[in-house]
Amino acid sequence: MKISKKDVDYVAALARLEFEQKEEEKLTEQLASILGYVDKIKEVDTSKIEPTSHGFSGENVWREDTVVKSSEQTIESIFKNAPAKDGMFFKVEKVMDIED
């Protein structure tokens, strides 16, 4: 299995991961080795086989989407974990670059 630097860059961008150059070189090698191994599933004939997505039942479970009110204390403890906040908002860097 051959994996190029371009493949790794593309997947890293999808996964929102940044790598240092050395780390990326090692990873490229390891991914190629793991993909080479897992490729063995291709030899199994699955032409008449349905996929399994769960360990036990595959049925969907429906429920009403109802709002449950959280206590002040819970809200407070959630915001305590925020890297940056402004009152009841999480603060992040700007989402879009606006060129003027």
Partner: protein, 486 residues
């Protein structure tokens, strides 16, 4: 050595309830033991002494005042650090969650609190439960209590080592591909992965949602049955938990095994199997024959594809589950001047190498052009693996295998090659793919004195038979009564 730490959870619960021992005294004994040994073993992320002593005091007051008590009233338990206990730190052994304080209880924790259990500490794991040795913990590697140069197994290596070293009589682990059973085998204890859907996953850090289960770890089979009684059951907060009655796993544990059929899958008894492991399993087979069981050779023909299927599925699911760690609402955030870079740097610096490797593999397997060849294909082969088990259970009541191909290996022996590490899970992975229940229990020692484990695999929701079969074995042997010298 304080006699209290040699007692089983069942004995401790009885003695506390009947006022022969105080919970405070019991908890203190285990915490004292942890303080003495954990600098060598490093099972714990945190020993929660203050929290535990307050709980123990409350249990003792409850008993003194004659109030109704729970099944584990006053009994200590260690919790794997990927399960939330409200107001305590929960790291999942990752830098990205290093300072995360849980705002709520996992359902299993709520149930344990109602049963009176006392939380003595949070245990180390491979980061996000990805690994087989705890060497992937972002903080430190846990040691095997039988030989501190060896791995305790993983990912629930901290919990296994804590019970093995007698710093807690019970622990919770999580098992996605063997993460309870393989470390239980390495540390000479019992570890149970319940049927998928038997125990609520709410409040456990999600890794691969179609495979993850929380389960008990203990020295004896009876203690794990007692603990599963407490944590099992449907939970509306986890839509994949199954609404099916929970039996009493302790009640029928001592049933006669005469005529019971035990299946030995021929694909698991391969040439490369360690000689000490082989010998221990052969002896276990003899014991079961003496107990009146019938031994039947069976075949699980798609076993050879299990690891490949597993790594595609677990990495794909992990890549989706771990997308939530974006540094916005909680967790580590790298400072940047735009949001996209902030995501990439927070995740790039916050996650360790194995976690990133799996996210990359999963993202690749799910990406346009590869989805059908990898994820779609793996799901189909998963069906074949599941059918292998269904067919086998038409012939036998339970399946028996070694838990791992070798006893615990040396620290550093496999950490350089991720694929070699993955292959050490070969015997435990199919169970999660098929969703059936599994258990590892001690069945011998290698010539170096390292524990060997055997695995029992039951039908979906037939934990009762599994506990019965395992209990009878422990009644006939004393491997579970051996203690490591540390």
């Amino acid at each position: 050595m304080n006699e209290i730490i040699k007692m089983t959870a069942t004995e401790l619960a009885e003695k506390i309830k009947t006022k022969q021992l105080k919970s405070a005294e019991v908890v203190q004994a285990f915490i004292q033991r942890a303080k003495e040994t954990d600098s060598k073993i490093k099972a714990y992320m945190e020993i929660t002494e203050e929290y535990a002593m307050a709980q123990a005091k409350a249990s003792d007051e409850k008993i003194a005042s004659g109030k109704e008590t729970g099944a584990l009233e006053g009994v200590p338990i260690a919790i794997k650090d990927n399960i939330l206990i409200k107001d305590l730190r929960m790291t999942a052994s990752s830098k990205i969650l290093e300072n995360y304080i849980a705002p709520y209880d996992a359902t299993v924790i709520e149930k344990l609190k109602n049963s009176g259990a006392v939380f003595v500490g949070k245990t180390n794991l491979d980061e996000f439960a990805m690994g087989s040795s705890t060497e992937n913990s972002a903080f430190f590697t846990t040691k095997n209590p039988w030989d501190t140069d060896r791995i305790p197994g993983g990912s629930s290596g901290g919990s296994a080592s804590a019970v093995g070293a007698m710093t807690a009589p019970l622990a919770l682990g999580t098992d996605t591909g063997g993460s309870i059973r393989q470390p239980a085998s390495c540390c000479g204890i019992v570890g149970v992965k319940p049927t998928y859907g038997r125990v609520s996953r709410f409040g456990a850090v999600a890794f691969a949602s179609s495979l993850d289960q929380i389960g008990p770890m203990s020295k004896t089979v009876e203690d794990s049955a007692l603990l599963l009684n407490v944590i099992a059951g449907y939970d509306k907060k986890d839509s994949t938990s199954i609404n099916k009655d929970v039996g009493d796993y302790v009640k029928n544990i001592n049933k006669d095994l005469k005529g019971l059929k035990i299946g030995l899958p021929k694909e698991y008894f391969i040439d490369g199997l360690d000689a000490d492991v082989k010998k221990s399993i052969d002896q276990a087979i003899k014991i079961y024959k003496n107990l009146g069981c019938e031994i039947v050779e069976i075949s699980l023909p798609h076993t050879d594809y299990a690891i490949a299927v597993y790594y595609i599925i677990c990495c794909s699911e992990a890549s989706a589950n771990l997308a939530r760690y974006d540094g916005v609402r909680y967790g580590f955030r790298a400072q940047c001047d735009n949001l996209l870079d902030e995501y990439k740097k927070s995740r790039g610096q916050g996650f360790g190498p194995e976690v990133k490797r799996r996210i990359m593999l999963g993202t690749y397997a799910l990406s346009a052009g590869y989805y059908d060849a990898y994820y779609g294909k793996a799901q189909k082969v998963r069906t074949l693996i599941k059918q292998d088990f269904e067919k086998a259970y038409e012939k036998v009541d339970i399946i028996m295998t070694p838990s791992a191909p070798t006893p615990a290996f040396k620290i550093g022996e496999k950490s350089a090659d991720p694929l070699q590490m993955y292959l050490s899970d070969i015997f435990t992975i199919s169970c999660n793919l098929a969703g059936v229940a599994g258990m590892s229990l001690p069945c011998g020692f290698s010539k170096d004195g390292i524990p060997v484990g055997m695995q029992l695999l039951s039908k979906h929701f037939d934990e009762e038979t599994m506990f019965n079969v395992a209990y009878k074995y422990q009644q006939a042997t004393d491997f579970h009564k051996q203690f490591p010298r540390i």
